[in-house]
Symmetry: C2
C-alpha cells in the first residue's frame, strides 16, 4: 500500500510529501470517486484547504486522477486505472453514481463509439454517467 503510493509519485516525478501520500491513500481506500469536500473531511485539519486544491490539480495534470462530470456543482475525482496514459486517460470511462449511497464506480466497460453525431461535429471526449442503485444498496 505505502509502496504503491510512493511508486506513483516517483513515476510521475513528484516530490514525496505527506499531503500527497495521504491523499493518494485516501483515494485507494475509497475505491470510488471523491470531491474536494470528501477529502477535506477525511484529512481532518492535517492540511490546509489550499494544499488539497493544489494537490488535486497536480494529480490531474499528471494523469493520476481524472475528473467526472456531475449534475450538481461538484468536481469529482477518481484514480485512473493503470491503463490510462497521459493523453487518453479521460476517455472511454463509464461512471456509475448511486443515488442512495452516493458512491461513484468506475466501470471499465469501453463503449464502441456509441454516438452518431450530426455532420460537421467532431468528437474528442465522451463521458457516460449512469445513475441509479448500486449492488450494495439494492
Amino acid at each position: 500500500m505505502a509502496f504503491d503510493v510512493l511508486d506513483i509519485l516517483k513515476r510521475n516525478n513528484l516530490s514525496v510529501t505527506d499531503s500527497r501520500k495521504k491523499i493518494l491513500e485516501i483515494f485507494q481506500q475509497a475505491g470510488g470517486a471523491l470531491d474536494h469536500a470528501d477529502i477535506e473531511k477525511k484529512t481532518g485539519d492535517s492540511f490546509d484547504r489550499v494544499t488539497i486544491y493544489r494537490t488535486l490539480q497536480t494529480f490531474e495534470a499528471k494523469g493520476i486522477i481524472h475528473t467526472i462530470p456531475t449534475i450538481d456543482n461538484s468536481i469529482l475525482y477518481a484514480l485512473c486505472k493503470e491503463e490510462c496514459s497521459q493523453g487518453n486517460h479521460r476517455d472511454n470511462h463509464i461512471h456509475f453514481i448511486c443515488d442512495n449511497c452516493n458512491t461513484t464506480y468506475c466501470l471499465n466497460h469501453i463503449p464502441q463509439s456509441v454516438v452518431q453525431l450530426p455532420e460537421g461535429f467532431t468528437e474528442k471526449r465522451t463521458d457516460i454517467i449512469v445513475s441509479g442503485i448500486c449492488n450494495k444498496c439494492k
Copy 2:
C-alpha cells in the same frame, strides 16, 4: 413566442411573473444550454440573483428545464423538449459541448441502452456528454 411562454407557465400551475417570463424567453432564444451566470448576463440588473436561482430551481422541479452534467463546476440548464414528461424528462439526452465556442447542443438521438451494467446495478438515468468541435467552429 410570448404565447408559448405563458402557456408553459400555466400548464405547470406557476404564477406568471416578469422574471419567469423573461428567463423562459432567454432559453428559447438561446436554443442551447445556459448556466446561472449566462442568465444573469442576459437579464442585466432586472432581477436579483436570488430570484434567478429560485426560478431555475422551480423550473427544474416542474420539469421545464433539466440539468446537464459538466466537467467544470457549473450547472448547465436546458429547456426540455415537448416529449419530456415529469418522470423521464432527464433521460436519454445526449449533449454536445463545443470546446471552442462553449455552446451546448441537445441532440435528440436516443441511445438504445448502451451500457451493460454489472449484476445488481439498476439504471435510472443515463447522461452522455460528448465534447469536441461543433459544426460552426470547424
